[in-house]
């Protein structure tokens, strides 16, 4: 009997949750399970940051577990984490890598891609990911990044030019996909620009007045 991916994922998620309770996290015997779980996530487009991060933790605590293929696992963890932007997942992972893992050339590439995303250099980003197949192999990577791009557009724009927006969303974007994205974000196409939302509130004249909590004043209240 083949379970549907969602049910499978839910089961694995529960197993991961219980095996990571307390000190169980560091049990090296579960490493293979976490790796299978990660690969499942990459294939079917699910995500469990806690479990993936735990793989890196196991590598850190038990270096004997590291084999020649471990670096591939590290790459997968990083790419999956990158898909969570603007979440902090990538930084959490990055802080747990060993020097050897960092020096690996693909890790460096992934890190460069991460920087391009964090600095919102989206056109350069689309060029950069052409060079490595990992980005196309992980299911949902492109959609996740587009979601992040839309998030940043939402923060920044009232009206954005249509061709600039579609350039940012990537060269492989079809017209219908583009319209879908507008729909999902409740944006309106008006002529040659897209209306994202009213932002005038953001720049209203504000005056910040002083508030003083009582603890700051008590030292000078002389009570004799």
């Amino acid at each position: 009997m083949v379970m549907d991916p969602q049910t499978q994922f839910d089961q694995m998620k529960e197993e991961a949750y219980y095996s990571m309770e307390g000190l169980g996290r560091l049990n090296p015997e579960k490493l293979d399970f976490y790796i299978d779980y990660l690969k499942f996530q990459a294939e079917h487009g699910f995500y469990d940051g806690d479990a993936n991060l735990n793989i890196l933790k196991l590598y850190q605590f038990t270096p004997d577990l590291i084999t020649r293929s471990s670096i591939d696992i590290v790459h997968l963890v990083l790419v999956k984490a990158l898909m969570q932007l603007p979440g902090s997942d990538y930084v959490f992972c990055r802080a747990q890598l060993s020097q050897d893992m960092i020096d690996d050339s693909l890790t460096k590439k992934i890190d460069d891609v991460a920087t391009l995303l964090e600095t919102c250099q989206f056109p350069d980003f689309w060029n950069a990911i052409q060079e490595e197949k990992i980005f196309t192999e992980v299911t949902g990577f492109v959609d996740a990044v587009r979601k992040f791009i839309c998030h940043v557009v939402q923060l920044t724009y009232k009206h954005v030019e249509e061709d600039f927006l579609s350039k940012m969303l990537g060269p492989t974007l079809s017209k219908s996909e583009f319209m879908n994205i507008l729909d999902q974000n409740s944006w309106e196409l008006k002529g040659d620009s897209v209306f994202v939302g009213h932002k005038e509130e953001m720049v209203e004249q504000k005056e910040i007045i002083e508030k003083m909590p009582i603890e700051v004043v008590t030292p000078i209240l002389a009570i004799r």
Partner: protein, 531 residues
């Protein structure tokens, strides 16, 4: 029966008296113990056995420190076997002996240099101590002062840190020590240390208790369990949680660090506030974890609050020089990190904090504002904790090298410095306008228009992250939105904040007055008048 040759109140350390003669400093062949020390030990034993927590606290906080200062400034306290004889305790595994050994080794670490054997023995003693608490089927009867419980956990983590650092200095370990390390490879293992701390938090259902407190419920036995109803378990559990927070940060695991304090409220009226050193440590590490994941508003909020607290309570720490040292160190570390954080996330800082930053890091901040980003390295090193790696190989690289634990975390931080590189310049131009076309801004910045667009988005993205999950904070930063090719910038006026400054000046004046008055009452004797 114990013969007390002296009444409790009459002991010299109680009256701040210096030791009577030189003799006590001389060590005879059999290592005689000075009489006042014998009395101290007997009374200490007496109170611990009878659970008289008030006196135990007094002897622990005051007596032990003073006797160490008078008699054992650069020597070890009497050997545990000797002390066992003195207090006539038959069982070397009794709780008093375990506690004495903890103090004995702590003293060695603080004032002398521990040998490898000391490190091993101290570890065994900790295992005994924690087994005493954890393996008990019923809650133990003993009660201990909170400060002592905190110090035990704090020291436990510290000794682990010390051990890892010792192992990293491969060049300084001789062959005999190398063999000892190989033979005893279970000692001070990171998993064991974590295990103990985790078990201590679980024994008293700490997370359930914290959740209940967060929701404003009263903690009942149903929530806390049988063990959680006894303060020794709950407080040790809580301090262990802070110990975990610290350890995770030292290992670069900010995810676990932040998730373990999920339910902790950083307020003054909390479990944390019972021991000031605990509160300072917890705030420092929590703020540091937020700092590393770029949620600067959270860091700023925590650090401002705790720095204010430290200023106000500084006077209460004057009696213990080593405590003051620790506190000053944490103070300076937080200032360095705040200096960095406020360049990435301009928020209103309290005047007292601003003054301190100017004093200690003023020149560095000025250099950053002039575009010198190499200064960030120094500030980071000043502010960061002593990172560790969980496993130290037999031939480790230098702990301060670029691939040591500290170097690795620096790399993570430097990535952020690089990502923020263009933002200050952007900010300074935008500040000058209420609206400006992208093309014009591109000319000023000497960048292509599309590059400017990306930069504007990056500004918004970083700003949103820095906001973190903090509450209301007064931002000094500009805000803007882009409408096609026009940028509209906020016009925030900040009313003059003089209250803080006013309070600082009043305090300064009051202190100056005090000084003048005391000088007037005790005039300095005039020197011999010339003929």
């Amino acid at each position: 029966t114990l013969l007390y040759t002296i009444k409790f109140e009459d002991m010299a350390w109680q009256r701040n008296e210096a030791p009577p003669t030189q003799n006590y400093y001389q060590e005879t062949g059999s290592g005689d113990v000075a009489e006042p020390v014998v009395n101290f030990l007997k009374w200490f034993y007496h109170f611990i056995e009878r659970n008289e927590i008030y006196h135990v606290e007094n002897m622990y906080e005051d007596g032990f420190y003073k006797i160490s200062e008078f008699y054992y400034k650069d020597k070890m306290w009497p050997a545990p076997e000797k002390v066992q004889e003195i207090v006539e305790e038959k069982d070397e595994g009794s709780i008093f002996m375990i506690l004495y050994r903890e103090l004995y080794y702590r003293h060695i670490y603080a004032r002398l240099k521990p040998t490898l054997e000391h490190r091993f023995d101290s570890y065994s003693n900790y295992c005994e101590l924690f087994a005493y608490l954890l393996a008990a089927e019923e809650p133990v009867k003993i009660e201990l002062p909170n400060k002592w419980l905190w110090d035990i956990i704090d020291e436990f983590v510290y000794q682990f840190q010390s051990f890892q650092q010792f192992k990293s200095k491969a060049g300084k370990i001789n062959d005999e020590e190398k063999n000892m390390l190989r033979d005893e490879d279970q000692v001070w293992k990171v998993t064991a240390v974590l295990n103990i701390l985790i078990q201590l938090t679980e024994k008293c259902n700490l997370n359930d208790q914290l959740q209940a407190l967060e929701e404003g419920e009263v903690v009942t036995e149903e929530i806390a369990g049988e063990f959680g109803m006894k303060p020794i378990y709950t407080m040790t559990g809580f301090f262990s949680l802070v110990g975990l927070l610290r350890l995770y940060c030292l290992l670069g695991d900010y995810h676990m660090a932040l998730s373990c304090i999920e339910n902790v409220q950083f307020k003054d009226k909390d479990m944390m506030a019972l021991v000031p050193a605990c509160q300072i440590t917890a705030n420092y590490y929590a703020g540091f974890a937020y700092f590393m994941i770029r949620k600067y508003a959270n860091t700023i909020q925590l650090y401002q609050h705790i720095l204010g607290y430290m200023q106000r309570t500084k006077q209460f720490f004057q009696n213990r020089s080593f405590q003051v040292e620790d506190i000053n160190k944490k103070n300076d570390q937080m200032l360095a990190l705040l200096a960095i954080a406020s360049t990435f996330c301009p928020l209103r800082l309290d005047e007292s904090v601003n003054i301190q930053i100017k004093e200690k890091q003023g020149d560095k901040v000025a250099r950053i504002q002039h575009g010198d980003i190499t200064v960030y390295d120094d500030l980071f090193f000043s502010g960061c904790p002593k990172f560790l790696s969980p496993v130290v190989s037999e031939n480790p690289t230098s702990p301060f090298g670029s691939s040591g634990p500290r170097g690795m975390q620096l790399q993570v931080f430097k990535a952020e410095v690089e990502q923020q590189r263009l933002i200050p310049t952007l900010r300074s131009f935008l500040k000058l306008y209420t609206s400006i076309p992208i093309s014009k801004l591109a000319k000023f910045l000497d960048m292509h228009e599309n590059e400017v667009r990306c930069c504007l988005m990056a500004f918004k993205h970083k700003k949103e992250i820095a906001k973190g999950d903090g509450g209301e904070q007064t931002t000094l930063d500009i805000d803007f939105y882009v409408d096609k090719n026009m940028i509209h910038i906020s016009d925030t006026k900040i009313a003059r904040h003089y209250g803080d400054y006013y309070v600082q000046q009043v305090i300064k004046l009051r202190d100056s007055n005090k000084l003048i008055m005391s000088a007037a009452l005790n005039p300095v004797a005039a020197g011999p008048t010339p003929p």
